[in-house]
Symmetry: C2
Subunit: 447 residues, 2 copies
């Protein structure tokens, strides 16, 4: 990795949209213009992706779960499997990146290496893999477990899993394909090698049964906030989906990640994209009105249950008109999702909120930052965070889809472009190019 | 399942094309018009699928492996992961079915249930799953094993795997989705149930985190020739990819499958589609010339190694100008692939072939039937097999793609249509409709 080239290139803002079915706010499907069936409608996802591509976004992102982990009586969930849905999106777009979540807890590295390399092939070099571990009990019970593996073990498995996947991606040289019709030579087999991995969790011989993909490695994304999560990100991630509620926290998080990455010899390789929900109005009052209407469409029992779940307590421990209980501890005895636990506590503390006010400030959400305002206000906020080096960009989670994204694309993006913060054309065709990433470092394989 | 409706409908021929990268003959990539890179080019697969859809084929099929199991120095292999590639194909077509292989040996039922249900959603009800077990050592070694699990255990796992997948597909009622904006009711949770499966191989709580797909169940396809394989097909398969070399064998195979299926209360539920490679010429002499040119482009060392692999021996046990050795036994001590072992032996015996003649008759192939002739001759053969109840249709494996399929579509399909054997328009939009299958029988779940 060349530090000189990274230092000479002006920093560029990166924008990614999380196509969270009907939108980030749990009641988004109840809006007049919304199609409640959008969460299982491929045309909906394609429409959102095309909108993002029109605005020259870096990528679309699809989160995932391996169980029903929310209250489906009231709201849509992550349902369609991301890599397949991203292939549908790739077929209907030409430039925008396609990033999907896959869990290292309940998959095999060979299958995951193959699926993301395939997605990279069919999209012409636009694939990214969001590496997650899975912390919830319903998922564990869909894969033969009665309990959730502990946090340290999940991350140890994730680290080894990621290394095996990278080694498999490196098992073919870029120029292994020959295709010489006259000589009858198809592949140069001296350029295809086993990985012969034997570790604590996996034993994988390789090589992959698929030539190296256009990007070499699909872009690796991570989202961990815990020590183990940050360490995994520092070692492997090229982009991080973070969940900071305040500018200062985000600056500190990004700095910490850079220090950790430098420890692995990776000085300029991690783009921090903070989760950001936008609720946009022509005036601030209009935006607040939209926020309140959306929140009022969420039953309080739902919001209480969701908040209690994030905090690892039961809903009856929450009083709408009181502050959060004292002495909250990480869910599952420190074994749960760190990111949203900490982000939610921080938000409550900073605002001095009652539970009711907190739920309103979170727009019924699960811990990501919500900004409510005019396009100018939102552009100002983005510029402040970006120029202040709190982030390299944002993982946008519009309140409702597609219209929350349409408002951002039509009204916020042109301001960012006028201010020279965001591209007006794609400079390349790959996700790696959009994110300004260097080619992947080849893993040294010793057989 | 209604026997009356099945009895009253005239039998309809079914045509499926196996998009085996550059084509069935290992040297197909060396033809003048071929693009050697086609095996990793999504545009190639889309082009072939669109050609098949123009001819009103029932489906396209993508086989799969979980390791390099052929000689890549000489020929292309199955590389891109099928479900992702089929999503790309579905996005570029409107009616044709999309069937892909996934192994029960190295996957989890929850993930496979979800992937094929997702493919069914994004294709609007066109998905099919070809259920296979994986018998080769290189694949085993990519998933932590030093040996191939024995045949009986592979099939026991496959049977339980398939049952869990079906139960997961049935874990949502068709009408579980409500989407009532006014009432704020999204899903009727009384219509979504756990599967609570605990078996020999799997423990899966469910429900699936995905509403029931358009077909209810994606179409289940199987290809086993062994007793265990036929039994699995009889219990679950709605279409079978068979590999009979002779009319009589195929009649007997189909009858046996019907008897076994009847034993499971399934009288009319299995369509037998025989593998068929076509080499087409304007005259028989031209077709034979094309066959010989293709075979002559395959190095003998490659064909010998491939034949030896099918027979579970080493190449030095084969003499090009002698017959096959006596007393051949199933590869891996009865633990290998039954289908191609038996089909190859039968072909050698029937023709009284030397090894060289056998390889020519198989067009360098691995055991599927090859017919070489004019469009009329090929249509006659298809009509004979279909009317004689040897098959319900064919899984076509054209010698080379796309041109071998283009010849079939342009010159053979119109003959079949004139003879009233094959549809001239799609009657429905789902794969289940094309194949004339009844809606799936719901699995009884006892919690």
């Amino acid at each position: 990795m060349s530090r000189t080239s990274a230092a000479n290139t002006p920093r560029q803002l990166h924008l990614n949209v999380n196509i969270l079915h009907s939108g980030f706010v749990p009641s988004a499907w109840r809006l007049d213009d919304a199609d409640p069936r959008a969460f299982v409608d491929v045309a909906h996802y394609v429409r959102v992706a095309q909108l993002a591509e029109r605005a020259k976004f870096d990528a679309v992102f699809l989160a995932d779960n391996a169980a029903i982990v929310d209250q489906i009586d009231f709201r849509p969930i992550t349902a369609l499997e991301p890599t397949i849905l991203l292939a549908s999106i790739a077929a209907a777009t030409t430039h925008i990146g396609v990033i999907g979540t896959a869990s290292t807890s309940y998959n095999e590295p060979y299958n995951i290496a193959r699926r993301f390399a395939t997605l990279d092939h069919v999209s012409g070099g636009r694939a990214g893999w969001n590496v997650v571990t899975t912390a919830d009990l319903p998922s564990a019970r869909n894969f033969g477990h009665d309990t959730v593996p502990d946090h340290a073990q999940r991350y140890a498995r994730a680290a080894e899993f990621t290394e095996v996947v990278k080694a498999l991606w490196d098992s073919w040289d870029d120029d292994a394909f020959v295709g010489d019709k006259q000589g009858g030579r198809f592949i140069d087999v001296t350029k295809v090698r086993p990985v012969a991995h034997e570790g604590r969790f996996f034993k994988v011989q390789g090589p992959l049964n698929l030539p190296r993909s256009p990007q070499g490695h699909p872009v690796l994304v991570q989202a961990g906030a815990s020590g183990d999560g940050r360490d995994l990100a520092a070692r492997h991630a090229e982009a991080v989906f973070s969940a900071s509620q305040s500018f200062e926290e985000s600056v500190a998080y990004r700095r910490d990640l850079h220090v950790r990455a430098a420890g692995y010899g990776r000085a300029h390789g991690v783009q921090v994209l903070a989760g950001l929900t936008t609720i946009i109005g022509a005036t601030e009052a209009e935006a607040l009105k939209r926020r309140d209407e959306l929140v009022d469409l969420i039953p309080w029992r739902y919001s209480l249950a969701r908040l209690a779940g994030t905090l690892g307590i039961t809903p009856d421990q929450l009083d709408l008109d009181a502050r959060l209980p004292e002495n909250l501890a990480l869910p599952n005895g420190g074994n749960g999702n760190h990111t949203f636990f900490h982000a939610t506590l921080a938000q409550a503390r900073r605002g001095g909120y009652t539970v009711r006010e907190l739920i309103r400030a979170l727009a019924g959400g699960g811990g990501h930052r919500v900004i409510v305002g005019t396009p100018e206000q939102i552009a100002d906020d983005i510029e402040h965070w970006f120029k202040g080096e709190a982030v390299d960009g944002f993982n946008l989670m519009p309140d409702a889809l597609p219209d929350g994204l349409a408002a951002f694309v039509d009204d916020v993006v042109p301001i960012l472009q006028r201010r020279g913060l965001f591209r007006t054309e794609y400079a390349g065709r790959t996700l790696r190019s959009h994110l300004g990433l260097e080619p992947p470092t080849r893993v040294d394989v010793t057989v």
